[in-house]
Structure formats: structure tokens, C-alpha cells
Assembly symmetry: C2
Homo-oligomer: 259 residues x 2
């Protein structure tokens, strides 16, 4: 979210705007792109970008464009929730993957979207657009529905008021229908998504809770529509979600609550 | 590497110093820690840290300390080499893991260390200190030796001149012995490490090459010493390394060259 150039804008906010100009579809940017996206004068953008390169936060590619540097990637791996959740969830996700040979994803809530923090992919399974670090909408992805249903009424209202974007003919765009689904999901802890985000892709998702029962993440398996009976996959996904929850200190009897 | 407070120090370098104060052993820092590590006056540190928090680069934890934020983590996932290598290597690493049920690691060279960019861990396998984003020394880890042997003579001299730190009684600290091992590794593409970094842990490592034959990464399997015959594991590790190399455009006949 770049701000336009204003006189009182601090150097630090300019620097952060430059960094956050990069995104999933914009992994490489030229100096001109960066100046345009941040609204900074070209010489200022150039000076700050070179500082970011010399610190290892950005790197200059062979084609002269800039990209996020390895040192910034390393810094990112220190994000506490992400790192501890990923480390703990990984063996469980591997076992689930070994049992099903389907995509397995772990996501957390950030703002009004779900962010994928870990993913195991079958080489021959369904092609997925999402990748680690990528974002999914809350109203029509499996992990999104699980996180939204445990995100509190303020978040739900915000999502409903912003309008439910239609991704496929199956996307639920009726607020009343979505509210009923979310109530079910809050009760059962799981969500089944039937081609609502990507045509031909189903998702079976469940919640991950911590020692207080707070829903801190959602785990899902994504399968080609019709390739697997969703009801047959669900128990293994639920068991895996509970397995990760136990590692976070959850025990049977601790009631799920909003994250 | 914090710099001390100097008058001409730019705001951007202060901000980067704050960010890079976090490290593998220092995932959470208090405001006082951050001021001390960067040499910034407390009020300046506070103002900049709050800017970083409001941008999502840092987050304030429940205990009042600060940590790397989810948004910075996401930004890091955009680092090009890391992301493309990880995505391509993951299925091969999963297959290797399925075959061996031992830790599988992928690392790249950064400066004078190896950085682990992907790792699959067996739940019941050997406990490892390293984790994704973590660093390993070049002279006594499996991936490190592979990367060092393909890192050019300037790097080798630098590592030898800086002194070969002894981690275990088995660490090679004699420059002549290490040079001979590196020459072997350059020839075969593989390295066997025998408790040289961690007592009781062996590593079997091999190179990953791109379409030009440049060694861009190293793949390793880490096993409990004596649990597996290293010579029995080596062929599968080599085959997996070549498999990832093929995905990067390497073909038999393309000679390995320094990365």
C-alpha cells in the first residue's frame, strides 16, 4: 500500500514503502517501478534502494532489476508464530501427505486474508496458484472459512460488508448462506469447500488450537474435485489438526475459542 | 552487525540495524535490547520500532517484547532464488525423505556460511540444532563443504585464514587436510561429514547445479552416526541432487562450475 509523496513523509516510511512494493506477482521490480509505486523522486528511490542492497535486504538481479534479498528472507524466518507453528506442524503434515498424497496447507489469519505459512505438494497433484507466503480469501477457501468462523463478529461483518467476490459459479456470495456455513464451521471445527475458489479444486479444512483453545491456524487438504470423497478425507485432516493442536498444548476438553 | 551511534548515520541505516538486530538466538527483543544493540538513543529506537510495528515489519508480543512480524516473513518468501529453489526441490526432498526417513536439508551459500533454505525432519530422527533460515559453518558441515568446494579460491582462502573453529574432536582444523577434502569434493560433487560439526551426527551432501552447471545449492541427509552406512545413503542423495539440478535446466554433460 504505497503512499503518495508528501513533504512530511519520514525516511523510515519511505524505506518500508520500498520494501513492501514487492508482492507475489511482483518479485522483481526495476528502479523505475519502485519510484512509481512509492511516489518517490527517482534519485531518492535510487539512493534508498542502494542502501537496501548494501544491507542485503534487497538484491540486484542479473537483469538489473531488484528483488528481495536472502538476508531479508532469513530475517523473516524469525517470525515467532510462523516458525514455531511450521516446525511443529511439519511432521504431522508430512504424515498426512504420506497418507493422502494430496496438497497439504497450513495457514494463519492476517488482516482480512489467510496467509499460507507451510505447504507440502504432490508432484503430480492438482496445480495450485497459492504458494508459501501467498494469500487466500476468507470467504471461499477452506482455511479461510475455518479462520473466519473463529475470527469474531467484527471480522465477519467486515468481510460481509466488503462484498463477497465471486471467483467461480460456486462461490458463496449470499451473506446469509455464508453466515450459516460459518456457524456450522464454528461448531464442527471443519469446512468443506467445493470449487468455490478454483474450479475443479475442493478443500477439506480444520482448525488448529493452542493451549487455551484459541484457533491460531487452519490446516487443509486440497484435492481435485471428484477425485477423492471429501467425507473420506475429513477424519484424517481432523486428526492431524488435533495432533498439531496437542503440540501447542491443547488437550481434549479445552473448548475452541476465537483466535 | 550493529554500528555504533555516529552523527552522520542515516535514518535508513538505523532502521535496518534495528531489523537486523534479530537473529536465530534472539527472536524476541525488548526496546532496551534494541537500543543497546543498535547504539541508538532510547527515544529514537522507540519511535522507529513503533513505525516498524505499524508497518507490520515487527510485532509486539504479549510479553511487551518485539519480534519479526508476519508481513516481513511474507516479504521474505519473495526472495527469488530461495522461493524457486524450494518449490522445485520440495517434491524431490519429500521422495528422499520417504526413502530414508532421515533429515533432509537444502542450503545455499551466503557470505562465509551456508544458509538452510528448506528442511524436512523426521519426528523421531536425530535432534538437530539447525532450522530453516539457520546458518552452518562451511568447513565442517556437509552442505558447507559442498558449497565451499565450489565457491572459488578467494572464499577458500578467506575461510582458511579466518581459522578453522573446532566444534568437535573430529572437526578438521588443518588447512592442508581440508584443502585435500575440498579438492575431492569438487571432483565428486559430494561430501561425507563424520561428526565434525555435532558429535554423533553424520552428513551426506551433494551439489545442486543450474543450467550452466553452476553450483547454486547443496542437498544433504543428516543421520545419527553409525545408524546408517553412509556409502549406502550416498547414491540416493546424489540422484536427488541431480534430479533437482535437472529441474534447474542441468543436463548430463554440463560440467559443474563454481556457483
Amino acid at each position: 500500500m504505497p503512499r503518495t509523496s508528501e513533504p512530511g513523509r519520514s525516511v523510515s516510511s519511505r524505506l518500508l514503502d520500498l520494501l513492501f512494493s514487492f508482492g507475489p506477482g511482483e518479485v522483481e521490480l526495476s528502479l523505475a517501478d519502485l519510484a512509481r509505486k512509492t511516489g518517490l523522486p527517482h534519485p531518492t528511490a535510487r539512493r534508498l534502494v542502494l542502501e537496501l542492497v548494501s544491507a542485503g535486504a534487497l538484491e540486484k538481479r542479473a537483469n538489473g532489476r531488484f528483488a528481495v534479498g536472502l538476508r531479508l528472507w532469513q530475517l523473516g524466518t524469525l517470525a515467532p508464530l510462523t516458525e514455531s507453528l511450521r516446525t511443529m506442524a511439519q511432521p504431522v503434515m508430512e504424515d498426512l501427505y504420506a497418507a493422502l498424497h494430496q496438497h497439504v496447507q497450513l495457514a494463519v489469519l492476517e488482516g482480512t486474508e489467510a496467509v499460507i505459512i507451510e505447504r507440502l505438494s504432490a508432484r503430480r497433484a492438482l496445480g495450485l496458484v497459492s504458494q508459501v507466503g501467498g494469500r487466500l480469501p476468507l470467504h471461499c477457501s477452506g482455511v479461510g472459512k475455518v479462520l473466519l468462523s473463529h475470527g469474531g463478529s467484527v471480522l465477519t461483518n467486515k468481510i460481509l460488508e466488503s462484498g463477497l467476490r465471486r471467483y467461480t459459479p460456486r462461490t458463496i456470495t449470499d451473506p446469509g448462506v455464508l453466515r450459516r456455513e460459518l456457524a456450522d464451521c464454528r461448531r464442527t471445527g471443519s469446512a468443506l469447500v467445493d470449487g468455490e475458489l478454483t474450479k475443479g479444486a475442493d478443500s477439506i479444512a480444520t482448525r488448529v488450537m493452542n493451549y487455551e483453545g484459541r484457533v491460531v491456524a487452519a490446516l487443509s487438504v486440497v484435492v481435485r474435485s471428484g477425485s477423492v470423497q471429501r467425507q473420506a478425507v475429513l477424519p484424517s485432516v481432523i486428526a492431524s489438526g488435533l495432533g498439531i493442536s496437542r503440540m501447542l498444548g491443547w488437550r481434549p476438553g479445552i473448548k475452541a475459542r476465537n483466535g
